[in-house]
């Protein structure tokens, strides 16, 4: 093999692998990414049932209901709208009524969301960032006021 042929072989291989990788990435970008929405977003964007998404907001007070075998329903709200969530499993330690939550799953109908995972805060100072941003936008943000030391 001449020098030129060897170089071409190398470039050919590199090009082929990169092309495959690019194809996979582009395909996966269409298929596997999940959008974050608040209940109000879902109404506003008219998200179709069957769409997989991450739903974020606050757990509405008084809506958490526990059924048999760890069947749980609760409502997620963002100040403008709320959406009922079904979940089967263990809730995270910091799941609380009135606190921020992110649920990932499928929108079953305009009024029902089936979650396969539920995330709450990592510690008492932390609210999922997406939720904090949404609440700030809507003027419901109180996190910092609560966290700041009370002056009298």
């Amino acid at each position: 093999m001449t020098r030129k042929q060897r170089r071409l072989t190398l470039i050919g291989f590199a090009g082929a692998i990169l092309a495959i990788a690019l194809g996979l990435v582009l395909y996966a970008m269409n298929d596997t990414i999940v959008f974050f929405n608040s209940p109000a977003d879902i109404q506003a964007k008219n998200v179709q049932p069957g769409t997989r998404l991450r739903l974020g907001g606050l757990v509405k007070e008084g809506t958490v209901q526990r059924g048999a075998d760890q069947q749980i329903t609760f409502e997620v709200m963002d100040g403008q709208a709320s959406l009922k969530v079904h979940y089967k499993g263990l809730l995270p330690d910091l799941f609380r009524e009135g606190q921020g939550v992110v649920a990932e799953g499928v929108l079953e109908s305009a009024t029902m969301f089936r979650a396969d995972s539920v995330l709450a805060k990592h510690d008492e100072n932390y609210m999922p960032r997406e939720v904090a941003d949404t609440l700030k936008k809507q003027g419901h943000w109180q996190g910092e006021a609560d966290a700041a030391p009370k002056t009298q």
């Binding site: 093999m1 020098r3 060897r6 170089r7 072989t9 190398l10 291989f13 590199a14 692998i17 990169l18 495959i20 990788a21 996979l24 990435v25 395909y27 996966a28 970008m29 298929d31 596997t32 990414i33 999940v34 959008f35 974050f36 991450r54 526990r66 048999a68 075998d69 760890q70 089967k88 499993g89 263990l90 809730l91 330690d93 910091l94 990932e104 990592h122 510690d123 008492e124 100072n125 932390y126 999922p128 960032r129 997406e130 941003d133």
Partner: protein, 660 residues
Amino acid sequence: MLVEAGHFALALALGLSLIQFIVPLWGARANDPVLMSVAPATGLAVFGCIAFAFLALTMAYVTSDFSVLNVVENSHSAKPLIYKISGVWGNHEGSMLLWVLILSLFGSVVALARNTIPLRLQANTLAVQAAITIAFLLFILVASNPFTRIVPAPAEGQDLNPLLQDPGLAIHPPLLYIGYVGFSISFAFACAALIDGRIDAVWARIVRPWTLGAWAFLTLGIAMGSYWAYYELGWGGWWFWDPVENASLMPWLAGTALLHSTVVMEKRDALKVWTILLAILTFSLSLLGTFLVRSGVLTSVHSFAVDPERGTFILAILILFIGGSLALFAWRAPMLKQGGLFAPVSREGALVLNNLFLATACATVFIGTLYPLALEVLTGEKISVGAPFFNFTFLPLIVPLLLLLPFGQTLAWKRGNFLGTAQRLYAVFGIAIVVTLAMFAFEYGGPVAAPLGIGLGVYLVLGAFNEIVTRSWSKGTPLPVAWRKAANLPRSTWGTVLAHAGVGLTVIGIAATAWGVEGLATVKIGSSVKAGDYEARLERVVPRTEANFREDVAIFTILRNGNDLGTLESMKRLYVTRGMPTTEAGIMTVGLGQVYVSLGEVQADGSVGVRLYYKPLVLLIWIGALVMALGGGVSLTDRRLRIGAPARAKTGSAAPVPAE
């Protein structure tokens, strides 16, 4: 007093680093050995100062000195001693101090290795190291000072985040940082070579042990982090494709590529420019990892509360070093003498392919990790790129690499023979196929991926050891002779074999997760939850009180097909100071598999939600990583690579070294 002294020592270290940066560079330009030898002396002094500062902070933690803000925010007098010490780096300020401590530690080791490294290379390398030290010391002193006092001092601290109160914190960050920061040495050597405009096989031989060491530590750090997340978060998963995990995986992939390209450079004097670029990219990804994790761009357990000033500062450091080194590369790399090209079917050809796959896989992880950030900045749309994306893009790139791995290891240097190589692997192929078929028959109707994955793992392990067999045994060799031959093979060969076998073990562990079973139920005392053949029966719930938390301990009896395997404890804890609840999963190891029990809330009627998992062979995932790191360690003990054994290496290299 000690705290102020520590603060002062940091400032002193900054001053010394400035000298370490300027004087040796100047000396190298002027070819003045006196100026150049300032580098090792200042390198050691900088390490001394930073080590003192670190000790001062540790003392403040150990004695619970609540006049220091950092201690107040992250410690508590009732916390066990081990968490007081590990709490030093369980927060933003302290972790940056640990980072720079390890950076200067590596600098001082380079300084001490003066006999193995030419003075000029050493001076330039230490100067580049000093530049990194300056940036991070400035960051610590200006934007994240751990020594800030608070007046009046509170009587008690706010305790450490309970998720971090775990032996994992004592081990995981230091290992990971040694890995991350270790690549700064390869980076500094690469920049030094670019500054000097000279690079050769000797350079590769000097740099390889550093890369190898950093890689081994990073492997351990990632494995430890993975195991920690597995038992602490209570989700039973060992890898979540979380951006923070990806941040550590990217330098690992790039570092693995670097490790292999350095071998080509050392043996064949080729791939020089690419190796330099990889060294720069690997450390850039380490810096990016630090930035992603510490700047608050990503929210996770790892991002401690941070303010935007710090994010901007770290971003500036990032741009300066990544941009600067790439600019240096663009300017100087064309001046480096190119190495030769080589036959596609050869060991070096296979290593190029390895580099292509690893670099591309690293790029897909990079896109998946940063695309959501970019999209949010550009359009405000929030998306999450999770496991499906990475499984779809990363696996198709890694599986071919793994299939080719035993081939590459068996191919000869310069000109390999494809058929001949395949012939040497016949037995390995055969066994792997038989194992795969046996798995299919055994688990009829089970998941398809599992037997294929197990077969691949077996192929990798046997393929790795095949090298030892073919090099020490042929038909008719008596076993003792073969044994002696195998024992006398170079340590670096054994290192390669172990590292590759470790990959195989991890693959087996990952494949076996497909056979995992889980069950979910609300149980009362005396009733049980089932998963496959396994069953966990709740015996009783007892309250317990420790120094800084209260817990409810649920005691389960684990049964397999009705046979008692013993008891297991799973806890719900409440850390009193922060009022934060945590779940401690109960884990029982059965062979290489584990039974894993995670608790939900205890309900008013005394019943409790329980998730039971059985994970066959799961331990192999981490054992494989340990074996990989062990391979790195064994390879480091190879005489030719040993740091500080220059004289022997010189005489040794006069004798013909067998190709490996």
